[in-house]
């Protein structure tokens, strides 16, 4: 007995394809689709999520697994260690977000329904949400977290992350406005920034974010950092080339 797939191939193959140009001309003559479906924001996010490389998700999961399962065995100050990794985590996020620009696809994206701005921010939004979710879980599962209070731990993880993100976006904007667009720049910038934050942490550590410091001061620092991040995002949105699109 023939399989369904066989009969499909048989019958579909029998049928000659319609003439493309004729079809095209007819569809146009019928009249433009007066209402195109505006692509919803959720759809935008879902689409971009599909094109984010698997390595991004894998890194997030590995980080989480490492914290949850106590893999490295270093008992002391797990929180400290993880927060040192945050800048690089952010760096990966930035690189992933910039891929379209990196690979010179953003011009093409700019003439679609999404627009360049739409595509870029949708991608960044997905990454930010995924990372935020990972950080929240880290804050809950990292050993040593509960003694300090999950919110504080979350703040301590978020601060280096956001600082890296701010500096990266600032750097990227300066590069864009210069008009120089080298592929390598989009990798180099976030990475350098991550390194700066990483080493700069030592200084920050001594100055602010230590155990003995008030929880309230940590939260204030987080609030401050969030304000700057918002300003940064607003500036990027207002970026000339993205604004027009």
């Amino acid at each position: 007995m023939m399989r369904d797939s066989e009969i499909k191939i048989l019958l579909k193959g029998y049928c000659e394809a319609p003439d493309n140009m004729k079809k095209d001309a007819f569809i146009r003559s019928i009249g433009r689709k007066q209402q195109f479906e505006k692509v919803s924001f959720v759809k935008m996010l879902a689409l971009q999520a599909r094109y984010i490389r698997k390595r991004m998700w894998i890194i997030s999961i590995l980080l989480l697994a490492w914290a949850v399962f106590n893999i490295s065995g270093l008992e002391s100050e797990k929180v400290e260690i993880i927060s040192k990794i945050m800048p690089f985590f952010a760096c990966f996020g930035m690189i992933e977000g910039c891929r379209a620009k990196m690979h010179e696809m953003s011009e093409l994206e700019g003439t679609t329904l999404f627009s360049a701005k739409g595509a870029y921010f949708a991608k960044m939004a997905v990454i930010a949400m995924a990372h935020f979710f990972t950080i929240v879980l880290l804050a809950v599962f990292t050993p040593g977290a509960h003694e300090k209070g999950c919110l504080i731990v979350m703040a301590r993880l978020l601060i280096p992350y956001i600082v890296t993100s701010i500096l990266s976006m600032e750097a990227e904007r300066s590069i864009r406005s210069c008009g120089k667009d080298n592929e390598g720049i989009h990798i180099a910038i976030p990475f350098c920034v991550a390194l700066v934050v990483f080493y700069g942490r030592e200084v920050l550590y001594d100055m602010h974010v230590t155990d003995s410091l008030d929880a309230s001061k940590v939260m204030m620092l987080l609030a401050l950092v969030l304000v700057f991040q918002t300003i940064e995002v607003k500036k990027t949105v207002k970026l000339e080339e993205l604004l027009w699109n």
């Binding site: 569809i27 195109f36 479906e37 696809m105 011009e107 093409l108």
Partner: protein
């Protein structure tokens, strides 16, 4: 179906890339001729809404160029374009189908249709980075046609095509020109001589000459060179 450009200007600090250009385009193929650096790409980028003009206006049937409504009927092929390195030809088109609002099923059908149209159905599964220059260009053209555009803007579309591909491309453009506004820029005169209904010659951001060109008018190339010598 009219694309109106009114005193369009683009100025970068001291350099004026596009200088008070005014013209309008209707259904048919218009060739934009000019040397490299004449301002063709800048003009086109403004026409597709990627670049903001310093002054002047562009409207399509009253719709501003900066709108989703306009982008819905627009197809654009830039001079250079890229792709995610992991993309195959098919995946590239599927991605842009999605960005142009097609759902998965429609995207699949349209991708297959377009690949056949530009003759890439045999290499659809191959990675784009393995494509020859001509194949990549054909892929770009396919991308521009996804949403059956009413306005098709092509920046140096024949670069990298071999003679056979050039002929095929001309035939395709001619057919589309019967239904849509097509603007293609080039610095190779022979490309437009046969297909374009109208020619606009551009130099230093300004229109040097515009009009129709027929076979009996003689060699377009000669005229072009002469015009630029002045």
């Amino acid at each position: 179906m009219e694309l109106k450009i009114d005193r369009l200007t683009k100025q970068y600090d001291s350099k004026i890339a596009v200088d008070r250009m005014s013209f309008s385009l209707e259904k048919g193929v218009t060739g934009l001729l000019g040397a490299n650096g004449a301002g063709k790409t800048t003009l086109m980028r403004m026409m597709v809404g990627l670049l903001s003009p310093t002054s002047g206006e562009i409207n399509y049937d009253g719709i501003p160029v900066k709108s989703e409504e306009y982008r819905n009927v627009l197809g654009y092929l830039p001079q250079d374009f890229g792709y995610y390195p992991e993309f195959s030809g098919k995946e590239f088109l599927m991605y842009f189908c999605a960005l142009k609002g097609l759902d998965r099923k429609a995207a699949k059908a349209r991708t297959a249709e377009l690949l056949k149209l530009v003759g890439l159905e045999d290499v659809a599964g191959k990675k784009v980075k393995k494509y020859s220059g001509g194949m990549k260009q054909r892929l770009g053209i396919a991308q521009a046609l996804i949403n059956r555009p009413e306005v098709l803007v092509l920046d140096e579309p024949t670069a990298g095509l071999d003679p056979k591909e050039r002929v095929r491309f001309r035939e395709l453009i001619e057919k589309i020109g019967k239904e849509a506004i097509v603007l293609l820029s080039t610095h190779i005169v022979s490309d437009v001589e046969n297909i374009a209904d109208r020619i606009i010659m551009m130099n230093s951001g300004q229109i040097v000459w515009q009009g129709t060109w027929k076979e009996e008018d003689g060699s377009l190339e000669d005229f072009y060179l002469k015009t630029f010598m002045q």
